[in-house]
């Protein structure tokens, strides 16, 4: 054991002290002009768990999980049609956001999105037919997360939808996500109607081929990790705000789009569509997160969360040590700002797989990088700082690629540790959109909330029995 001498490690070194407990000791140190950080200590709500019953050192396991997440290198390598590229996807399967759920228990916007998708697929002519088909048992529903996929809001992926393919170059695993449709009345918020299907068809027939051709021209793909890192320096947190990242994406893809298109008007429409949708990059930021996190699953004894997802009815999490198991609680209510004509009573509970961004160490974790979004809840930039600083309390690590200039380039909080959530009672911060609770209407606002405590309690109990 390397054992540094006290004469070097302590004697003669300027002291910087962390004080836990009696405040008089901090005051004394301040009187002596000694740097001291006064910890706002409170008794832990549960005892700290160091080892599993099998004797695995949880901290070491968590270090390995975070090492893998940080080593991940998500790259947009191409596109494809869902049923052709997503593993085990088939013609009669619909993927959805969040933990597993049956048609009967689905919330309004998720049902709306399912019905809309069935109509878009040509499997039903109208909403009534679609509802009957969905209820018939002929359609297989499965969480996106069970298929390496990820879906915002209702998170519906139907067989014909084009998807991005993101490869984690370090580990070779892939993640899939649909293309972002824009805001307002859109399928992912449960929106139904001719304009919704028309847009989806345009995306399938025009947008997808154009992007696909362009991406084929970009030999090494588009490095999403680098785009996210840059966007964090430009005011995005890459969950509720993707304006900078979307702009960076256009820069990255535009030359190849030009070179592979012989129709300027189509090209202009494609760029316009992306440009007019500040959240276009969200559907890349999400599979990037998924690709990084999935590579860290299966580390025995780890208490790090690798999935947080909601289906609009329930909120579910999974741990790196138990990647097959969901820990579930009722989905929470979002505090937020509403679009004109809508109010809180219209809102569906929290929904979508986009919490994967928080899980991967950005989104709500990186609020301090994106003070502009605190406007969603009438907050201040100060609140954005407080939020990120608070998230460091419940995370194992700090990201080395994703940094926050305003915090002196400190890495974003990475690796939500169920133990720390339980000890401190601090719940993960989530930034999110708000869907109307009735099917067919769509987006009504956006806001923030905390993940529900119960699923962490359940996961912690499971961890204690490992």
């Amino acid at each position: 054991m390397d054992r540094p001498a006290l004469t070097q490690s302590l004697f003669g070194q300027p002291l910087t002290i962390l004080n836990l407990g009696l405040e008089i000791f901090s005051r004394s140190l301040q009187m002596q002009q000694v740097p001291v950080v006064e910890v706002d200590w409170r008794p832990p709500q549960v005892a700290h768990l160091r080892f599993t019953r099998q004797g695995i050192d949880i901290d070491l396991a968590n270090q390995e999980v975070c090492r893998r997440i940080k080593a991940g290198r998500p790259v947009l390598v191409g596109m494809g049609i869902a049923k052709q590229v997503i593993p085990n996807m088939h013609e009669r399967m619909i993927l959805h956001a969040g933990p597993p759920i049956s048609w009967e228990r689905m919330c309004g916007p998720q049902r709306g999105a399912v019905m809309g998708a069935l109509i878009y697929e040509g499997l039903a002519k109208n909403e009534a037919e679609a509802a009957a088909l969905a209820a018939s048992g002929e359609i297989e529903f499965a969480p996106c997360h069970h298929h390496h996929a990820i879906g915002p809001m209702a998170g519906i992926i139907s067989p014909s939808m084009p998807v991005f393919i993101v490869e984690n170059k370090t580990f070779g695993n892939h993640a899939y996500c649909t293309l972002n449709e824009g805001l307002g009345k859109v399928l992912r918020y449960g929106g139904m109607g001719e304009e919704v299907y028309a847009r989806l068809k345009w995306m399938e027939k025009v947008l997808y081929p154009a992007l696909d051709r362009a991406l084929n021209k970009i030999a090494d793909g588009i490095d999403l990790k680098s785009l996210i890192a840059q966007a964090l320096h430009m005011g995005d947190e890459c969950h509720n705000r993707n304006r900078a990242a979307t702009s960076l994406f256009i820069r990255a893809v535009a030359p190849a789009l030009m070179r592979t298109s012989n129709d300027n008007e189509t090209l202009a429409k494609v760029i316009e569509f992306i440009d007019q949708n500040d959240h276009f990059f969200l559907n890349l930021s999400m599979p990037a997160a998924k690709a990084m996190l999935e590579a860290a699953e299966g580390v025995e004894g780890s208490s790090i969360v690798t999935v947080m997802a909601r289906n609009g009815t329930e909120f579910g999490i999974r741990l790196a040590s138990m990647p097959e198991r969901w820990f579930i609680a009722p989905a929470g209510r979002v505090q937020g700002l509403y679009l004109p004509g809508f109010k809180e009573e219209d809102a569906n509970p929290d929904i979508g797989d986009s919490t994967i961004t928080e899980t991967a160490g950005y989104g709500g974790m990186a609020m301090a990088a994106a003070p502009a979004i605190t406007k969603f809840v009438g907050g201040t930039p100060e609140m954005a700082f407080q939020t990120t600083l608070e998230m460091y309390e419940i995370t194992q690590d700090e990201h080395d690629a994703f940094t926050i200039p305003a915090l002196n380039f400190r890495g974003t909080p990475l690796g939500i540790d169920v133990r720390k959530v339980m000890e401190t009672g601090i719940l993960p911060q989530i930034n999110t959109g708000i869907a109307h609770k009735e099917p067919g209407i769509g987006m009504v606002g956006a806001g923030i909330l905390r993940a529900p405590k119960e699923c962490f309690e359940e996961a912690f109990a499971a961890l204690q029995s490992l």
């Binding site: 002290i17 910890v39 901290d59 680098s226 100060e382």
Partner: protein
């Protein structure tokens, strides 16, 4: 000169950070030129012009970080690894930052872990949370590479042993549990006095003992290097003196320390042996004060570098003697030549007993050692030297009585008597009503952590007590000593004056106060 590069794929850094890294690299000896850039086409062109475009850099893409160094063959690899270290730091200025700057927005970290992560320069955790949580927090601090001052008590002995072994293996110091006092690099931790820097280094398993010795040294013009508190249980058989041995060895290796003082209540035999063996490994003059034990009872022959003394006062005076080039101290000239006969005359025939009301546990112990030799009748105490002299009821004195008001029976749910004088004042007023009480002895402990002005409150109480006694036709003699220095926030001289003005006889040390008390009462009999 050689040119070598390092490519880090998908590593985005803003250009300012990279320029700072490059600037640091160019300053390294042997480095001719250096660049740290994202490998965009434009940057590659710049590298080419500078003669720094290696094939690896040429092959890298716009999202890859490239570091190129042109340097002598011997220094080039070191320069590249230095580049990696600089990038990992990513905040070249962090060391010069005020701590907690990351919390400039008013955020107070809720956990030690979060505080440590935001304060990479932190090197010591001061923990005083409730005992049942303290061990866990100490673990966390040690895992983070922090030395620990563990003020909390009620930490299990098993935890103490495990914490100290773990820490010792990593060269980290665990002071405590139950460590009240330390002065590290001149910084007072917990309850400690303002003393000058100087040649004496101390390790102590007795908190007030450390305060008394460092204060006495300071008042004799002798300063200290380090004063390490170990916690009272460190020298027990179970703990094995882990911290005391580490501290002793560190002081032996410390060039600034010329004289070492070790303080403890009597230690376990095995620990004593280990400590003495360690003392023998060095030529540094070492004063061992395992209270009440002299060279004979320790079973050592005093060699030229070891002095075994019995009291805190002797430990301080012996150290002063060594520092000033004398072999031994001279106690004889120190005691006040007060007119004992005059003092005695103030007492009624029935006023035969002393009542000592201590705030410092070690001071209570030291005084009892002196009285064991000098008083004919036993001294009863709630913390006696011999169990046979234990008070039946701590709230009622009998015969000669010495109370340690810092014992847990008095401090549960109440502040320590060094912070709050209320309990001591009530007891004092109660004692003077007893016709058999002749002398009341007090210790007054100053320094960081202690009451801001104890003498004012005590002086007022003493006046009141004398009025009560006077109504009964008596006078009680008050004797006190002050543990502290003029540098302390309370100021020794001012506290002394306040007490003198209320008629208290001030002695230069706790031991001297105990001796004076004994002389008054013995000569009276």
């Amino acid at each position: 000169m050689a040119v070598k590069s390092l490519v880090k794929p998908s590593a985005y850094y803003d250009s300012v950070t990279l320029m700072l890294v490059a600037r640091e690299l160019v300053r390294l000896p042997g480095v001719n030129d250096a660049a740290a850039v994202m490998a965009t086409e434009a940057n590659k062109a710049i590298l080419l012009q500078a003669g720094l475009l290696t094939p690896e850099a040429q092959a890298a893409g716009a999202n890859d970080l490239v570091i190129v160094v042109s340097a002598t063959d011997e220094t080039i690899d070191e320069a590249l690894s230095q580049a990696e270290r600089l990038l990992q730091k990513k905040q070249p200025e962090v060391a010069s930052e005020a701590p907690g700057q990351a919390f400039a927005q008013g955020y107070r970290p809720r956990t030690l872990t979060a505080a440590a992560k935001a304060t990479p320069q932190a090197n010591l955790a001061l923990i005083s949370v409730a005992g049942r949580y303290a061990a866990d927090e100490a673990w966390e601090a040690l895992h983070r590479g922090l030395h620990v001052f563990l003020f909390s008590d009620n930490v299990s002995i098993e935890d103490e042993v495990m914490l100290k072994r773990y820490a010792a293996d990593r060269g980290l110091l665990v002071m405590g549990p139950g460590a009240g006092t330390a002065i590290i690099n001149g910084v007072a931790l917990g309850f400690a006095n303002v003393v000058p820097r100087g040649p004496v280094g101390l390790v102590s398993a007795a908190g007030t003992g450390l305060q008394e010795v460092t204060s006495l040294l300071a008042r004799h013009g002798v300063g200290i290097t380090q004063a390490i508190g170990t916690g009272g249980r460190d020298t027990s058989q179970a703990v094995g003196g882990i911290t005391m041995l580490m501290g002793l060895q560190a002081l032996q290796e410390d060039n600034n320390t010329e004289v070492i003082v070790l303080i403890s209540k009597p230690a376990a035999k095995t620990v004593t042996q280990k400590v003495l063996d360690q003392v023998n490994r060095s030529q540094k003059p070492t004063v061992v004060c395992f209270l009440g034990e002299d060279a004979r009872s320790l079973g050592v022959e005093e060699k030229k570098n070891l002095w075994a003394v019995r009291t805190l006062e002797e430990a301080a005076l012996q150290s002063v003697a060594i520092v000033s080039g004398k072999k031994d101290f001279d106690l004889s000239a120190r005691d006040l030549s007060d007119n004992i006969t005059e003092l005695r005359r103030q007492l009624q025939p029935q006023q035969r007993y002393l009542r000592a009301l201590f705030s410092g546990g070690t001071l209570c112990y030291e005084a009892q050692l002196i009285w064991r030799d000098q008083l004919k009748e036993p001294v009863f105490s709630n913390a006696p030297l011999d169990e046979g002299n234990k008070l039946a009821d701590s709230s009622h004195s009998q015969g000669h009585t010495a109370i340690d008001l810092g014992e847990e029976e008095f401090t549960v749910g109440r502040p320590h008597p060094m912070i709050d004088n209320d309990l001591r004042i009530r007891r004092l007023l109660q004692e003077v009503q007893q016709p058999e009480v002749g002398v009341v002895l007090l210790d007054v402990v100053l320094g960081y952590g202690a009451h801001p002005d104890p003498a004012s409150e005590l002086a007022e109480a003493i006046r009141k007590a004398q009025e009560t006694a006077a109504k009964a036709g008596r006078k009680v003699i008050f004797v006190a000593s002050i543990t502290g220095t003029d540098g302390d926030p309370q100021n020794y001289s001012r506290q002394e004056q306040l007490l003198r003005d209320s008629g208290v006889i001030l002695c230069p040390s706790n031991a001297a106060a105990a001796r004076l008390t004994a002389r008054i009462l013995e000569e009276y009999g």
